[in-house]
Amino acid sequence: MTTRRAWMFALVILAVALASGADAAPPKDAIVIGLLAEPVTMDPAQVTDLNSARVTKRIFEGLVAQELGSYKLIPGLARSWDISKDGLTYTFHLRPNVTFHDGTPFNAEAVKFCYERQLNEDGPYYKTGTYPYVKGFLGNVQGIEVVNPLTVQIKLKTPLTPFLQYLAHQSLFIYSPDALKKYGKDIVKNPVGTGPFKLETWEPGVKVVLARNDRYWGGAPKLRQAIYVPIIEAQARLAAIKTGEIDLTIDVPPDSLDSLRKDPNITVAEANSSAVWYVTLNTRHPILKDKRVRQAMNLAINKEAIIRDILKGTAIVSTGPMSPVYGPFREEKTTQYPYDPAKAKALLKEAGYPNGFDVTFFVPESGSGMQQPVEMGTVIQAQLLAVGIKAKIQTMEWGAYLKKYLDAPDMAEMSWNPSIGDPDHVTYMLLSSDRFPPAFNSGFFQNPRVDELLRKGRTTVGDAERVAIYKEAQRIIADEAPWIFIDHGRQIIIHRKRVQGFKLHPNFDLVLSQVWLQ
């Protein structure tokens, strides 16, 4: 009766649901990408998370760009540039006939407008930011001058070589001044750039749809649409890529990689990244301040086993802050720490701790770029115990952890995924004594020669000289062992076979301009 009618109704609904599922075949020229979360903001000046960056970098461009697949700088919205001999004046010659998605022209005035919005706290548009701009990138800028509509000059206060790489970061990408004036604070959901794609719709929590910019100066991309959907759960991302609901995704459970590699419809694309995963050691701690103790801790850990058993081969062993993607800047001939518990014990004995010692070890439950923090922390704890070091683990949720991390922990897990392709951004940022907390050198590592080198590296122009500087710094850093060096995560991107032309970029970006669908 009533129950039966209800059941009939339920069955009809189920039938409708199943039938409507049948016609949901993916369109031929729209790629569907499964992100871990939806973008936070589309105001490039305020993007600090990877998900927002992956979407907004399709819409906006900088004066300078990176060659796909490396950190090599190539022309972007600027066709060319000159740097004055003193390293203080950068002159950019802009690309002519470029328009924003709203039809307004891109020119030197637009560049000046975008940078001054961030620089000038009393300016009319400073307050259009949801929160204050991070000063790191433009903090060293003295002024911006429009020489003529297609030439803009940026003057620095002091020479800063990574500046050119900063210009390739989304924070300094150029947007339509008219759009900012029109939308004000709502610029967060109304992005207007010059890039190969423009925003079509954004349904919060559901999807972001980008449409091809047919008037793109570099030639319209082959894809008609790029659709980004947030899929929070790793198993759900795995199911969605296997069934073809989505075309491309990241961060599936490492356990599933073998079966994905065997799937005839799926490609597993892999490449090294600039990421580094380490355990910070507090160099002011009464015991950890002894270099021999820190070296012993490095020798005590079997990194290969962690990578093989926990990370399922999705990383390579780290011997210092810089991964192989830094090419010539990376020093390979450094002090090495192969797994050697006997040598670790000997070093501890020499340092006066034959029976080890007690230490607190902070571990986040999860977190951006943290791989498998709890499992890895547990193995590290066990291997330290094998040489006598009793590390007491304290786990914490990521938000609370970040605060704790900057509060002088004895030892704590951390990962760094540099958004800037300059060696400065992984060395100076993490290991210079200019960067003590609340900046990110939370182990208070301080070495006068390293400080000198890293400061010099920031102001030296010319690759050959900089290569020598950073190589020497890496040799000292590896020997001083301010961290337990663990691994450099590899980027793993899973896509359906119909996705063609996809290429990985070292900073985890998902570039689409050259991609087409079969």
Partner: protein, 323 residues
Amino acid sequence: MAAVGGGGLPAYALRRLLLAVPVLFGVSVLVFAVLHLAPGDPAAIMLGAQATKEDVERLHRDLGLDQPLVVQYLRWIGQVAQGDLGRSIPLGRAVLPEVLLRFKATLVLTAGALAIAVLLGLAAGIISAVKQYSWLDRLSMGAAVTGVSLPVFWTGIMLIIVFALQLRWFPSSGMSSPYGSGVGDVLWHLVLPAVTLGTASAAALARLTRSSVLEIIRQDYVRSARAKGLAERAVIARHVLKNAINPIITVLGVQVGFLLGGAILTETVFSWPGLGSMMVRAIQARDYPLVQGGVLLIATTFVVVNLAVDLLYAIFDPRIRYD
């Protein structure tokens, strides 16, 4: 249920709504205190490692986070009283439209889960009671114990693996296909999350329905009804269920609250674009205004649902009066 003073149903409803004000006030104090006293700093999380000390301090000033907690609370609750829930810290959007938008998706999911809970729960409970100690009874009560014990995220992931990955009957996540939409599409996406969320409630309802029906079924008037020669089906529907329904409705009201809470996990597993998945992210980012707004909305809903349940008693049982 029965209230003091006269005035009938409308007056009773009004009184109950007024009583909700101190409840919601208490909720606002609690959520504010818990959030602000928990470790973590929205400014540091948002600005990232690139930020200097000055950047973080400036943001604290801009957000008013440098003020004493009491001042911050009074400022916030003053805004709320005027219907302004503030702006999300990292998203920069007004909180009220944002939570209302997400709440719609949560309601769809909750309704779906409730439908499954009622269908499965009532059916299993009635069958178990009518065929007490039969294999059907044992099977459904065994299933109910299992259903109550299963954590939502486990059920969800298992359903994804079996029905999305292996059988491919249903999509693994989201509320609609990335391309195309429509009611059918939403229903198709709703099945797995609604089953995940509804299972535990269905199990609780089944056990309650069974005991409630068993209690009534032994009453004299039921025997009389049978003796009059009424068909068993009519006896159950007209005489037993009608009298067994009140405790079931009470529990149903509580279950709605449970479902709204359970939706947080289910929405995360299935990336359902509701309030729950948004809140998880907001909590991680220490997005105080958004979390506070979301909690207030859920608490309000809970109060309203409980009131509705109390009013429903009168409809199902005319003996109850509100004066």
